[in-house]
């Protein structure tokens, strides 16, 4: 159903009260029209005629910025238009229709933020796998190469290390492109500062991966710790890090931490928040 109609007892708008109005909400066109019923009296051949005529009073565009408040039978739209419905059930339905665009926008925005977080995790996950592969290769090249035998296709004729490194580089490049596209997608929505903060979070975890790959330099880890705290990660992360000695499973430490805070009142919007 794209159009819904409601009878209103009154509409208060710009200080005037209008009685006997009709509200017509068209979801497709994202607009709501309020019509006022006017009584007209006609005199002809000594007879009196009463005629009800509907006059357009107001058109409201319904979008993500539309605000709605409900109190009993009253619905206040955009803070200055008061609609009084026939009953409480109708007022709830009206409020729901007016707030739907905002909810849809919020849902879309949340999905985009989730996508952005997913793309960061995806990129770092592939990087972790690739660094684990390279670390194993450095430690025990022949064993690691033989293990590639099941990963790389039967038809491979070239050097297996080159083939696997190329494969990881391609996957990493692709996931980087996904990350870029995803973060530029939310930049309009969350602003450049917050997008940059997400890059900083990515860089922070990437540098942790590097530290473990290079053999975990404690000085470097200490310096990264300062940055991590500035980004909003708490001390428990670093306790976990101190117990690790390889890249494998590094991202698990961040599994229960949101890289993006979705809470409406968050001052940062994008900040690491522990979820469980």
């Amino acid at each position: 159903m794209s159009e819904a109609t409601f009878n209103l007892d009154l509409v208060k708008y710009e200080g005037k009260v209008h009685k006997r109005c009709i509200l017509s909400v068209n979801e497709e066109r994202k607009e709501a029209k309020i019509l006022e019923t006017k009584n007209r009296i006609f005199f002809t051949n000594r007879q009196v005629y009463f005629l009800n005529k509907q006059v357009s009073l107001l058109t409201i565009t319904t979008d993500a910025s539309t605000t709605v408040e409900v109190q009993g039978r009253s619905v206040t739209v955009n803070k200055d238009i008061l609609l009084e419905a026939r009953d409480q059930g109708e007022s709830s339905k009206i409020a729901e229709l007016f707030s739907r665009p905002r909810k849809e926008a919020e849902l879309k925005s949340r999905q985009m933020l989730l996508g952005a977080e997913g793309s960061i995790r995806g990129f770092l996950k592939i990087r972790e796998e690739a660094l684990c592969f390279l670390a194993n290769l450095r430690r025990n090249p022949r064993k690691t190469m033989l293990e590639l035998s099941s990963t790389l296709g039967e038809g491979l004729t070239g050097d297996p290390v080159e083939a696997m490194t190329r494969l990881y580089s391609e996957r990493l490049a692709k996931s980087w492109d996904d990350l870029i596209s995803s973060l530029s997608g939310i930049e309009m929505q969350v602003g450049k500062d917050r997008t940059n903060r997400l890059y900083a979070v990515t860089y922070f975890i990437g540098k942790l991966q590097d530290a473990f790959f290079e053999g975990k330099d404690p000085t470097k880890l200490e310096m990264l710790k300062g940055f991590g705290l500035e980004l909003g990660f708490d001390e428990t992360i670093f306790v976990g890090l101190s117990q690790k000695n390889a890249n494998d499973g590094l991202l698990d430490l961040f599994r229960n931490i949101r890289l993006i805070d979705f809470s409406e009142n968050s001052s940062a919007l994008i900040a690491p928040v522990k979820t469980g």
């Binding site: 990129f123 390279l134 190469m145 940059n196 903060r197 470097k220 990264l224």
Partner: protein
């Protein structure tokens, strides 16, 4: 060390401290480029491989003293009841395969893949110790890529004591190695059967176990061995045999000269002095003995081997251990073409006459 810039171009180094805001102007530090430059590209890894890969083909990898050497990667290619692949061993299931052609047809691709995936090509040198009588030998030699330079084949060859089918396999395996351009050092089965050495580490070793110290010497002097064989190849000589004296001392052999002369009776294949085209000596001895060895070798070559095309020797001074008066001599002889498989020819022809598929031409 890399730099991260703020929106106004102020730099901060990632080796000192990282911050969200610029310490100069307070604007945001930009991390997108830093991610792009430093996280998108994988770091380069320098891989270290052992200097020598030794592969026992049709033979168990049975030498602890060789395997423990950090400069050495040792593996073996065997036939068994089922297929199995590890870094050290590949076992090929014998089901339905009896002749060398069966193994060759069935496993060429699989074995070549295993060789590439364990990085057999990564070591600068390869020494293949092959029991050429075994059907798996032809397959293994065919699976080695021709482009893998610095590959030496030490071929344990069949002889008159071997069955005709063993002689056929041995002939084809040697022919395959030579077709691939790999220098072949031939060691006959009879030679191995009669091998007996005393070594400080193992005591008295006989037969195949006595071949292990020879292999160890070949491996420890691999650069020189490859140079010697390379020089022979340039002269058109691809077949070789050896003779060895290990843990020798001047108390046993009256002089180095007499010891060198004694080598003529212990060639690793049925060869005569006239068959020798080149001679190379590897001497592992105390410095003062090395001097005598050098002089004796020069005299021996001048007087006993006047017609050889080339002669070479390399000396390896032994350490200062109490047993350093003992010395090892290993002679590598370049021999005339065809001598390696001369004795195998009639056995090969008999089998190839009966089963034409079992001929050298079948190996690509």
């Amino acid at each position: 060390m890399s730099m991260i810039k703020c929106i106004n171009g102020h730099e901060q180094s990632d080796s000192t401290a990282l911050h969200l805001k610029c310490s100069v102007c307070g604007e945001a530090m930009l991390y997108e480029n830093a991610c792009l430059q430093q996280l998108k590209t994988l770091p380069k890894v320098d891989l270290t491989f052992e200097k020598v890969s030794i592969v026992f083909i049709g033979l168990p990898n049975s030498s602890p003293s060789l395997v423990e050497d950090k400069e050495l990667y040792a593996s073996s290619i065997l036939v068994g009841d089922y297929n199995m692949e590890t870094v050290e061993t590949v076992t090929l299931g014998r089901t339905g395969a009896t002749s060398w052609l069966d193994f060759y047809s069935k496993y060429l691709e699989k074995l070549g893949r295993w060789m590439r995936f364990v990085g057999l090509d990564k070591s600068p040198y390869r020494l293949l110790v092959v029991d050429t009588r075994k059907p798996v030998s032809v397959l293994a030699l065919a699976a080695i890529e021709r482009s893998w330079k610095n590959t030496i084949v030490l071929a344990i060859t069949g002889d008159q004591t071997s069955t005709l089918i063993e002689q056929n396999a041995s002939y084809v395996a040697i022919g395959t190695a030579l077709k691939h351009g790999f220098p072949v050092i031939a060691v006959s089965t009879s030679y191995i059967d009669e091998l007996i050495f005393y070594t400080e580490k193992e005591g008295l070793v006989v037969r195949f176990q006595a071949l292990i110290p020879i292999l160890y010497r070949l491996v420890s002097a691999i650069d020189s061995v490859m140079d010697m064989l390379g020089n022979d190849t340039r002269l058109g000589i691809k077949e070789h045999c050896i003779s060895a004296i290990l843990s020798a001392s001047e108390k046993i052999y009256l002089s180095v000269e007499s010891m060198l002369s004694a080598q003529e009776s212990s060639f690793s294949i049925n060869a005569k002095k006239e068959d020798i085209a080149t001679i190379s000596l590897l001497a592992f001895a105390p410095v003062d003995v090395l001097n005598r060895i050098e002089k004796a070798f020069a005299k021996y070559r001048r007087e006993e081997l006047k017609d050889v095309l080339a002669a070479d020797h390399q000396e390896y001074p032994s350490d200062g251990s109490p047993s350093s008066e003992l010395y090892d001599l290993l002679m590598i002889y370049g021999i005339k073409e065809g001598l390696t498989y001369e004795q195998l020819k009639s056995g090969y022809d008999t089998i190839a006459g009966m089963v034409p598929e079992l001929s050298l031409e079948k190996v690509v």
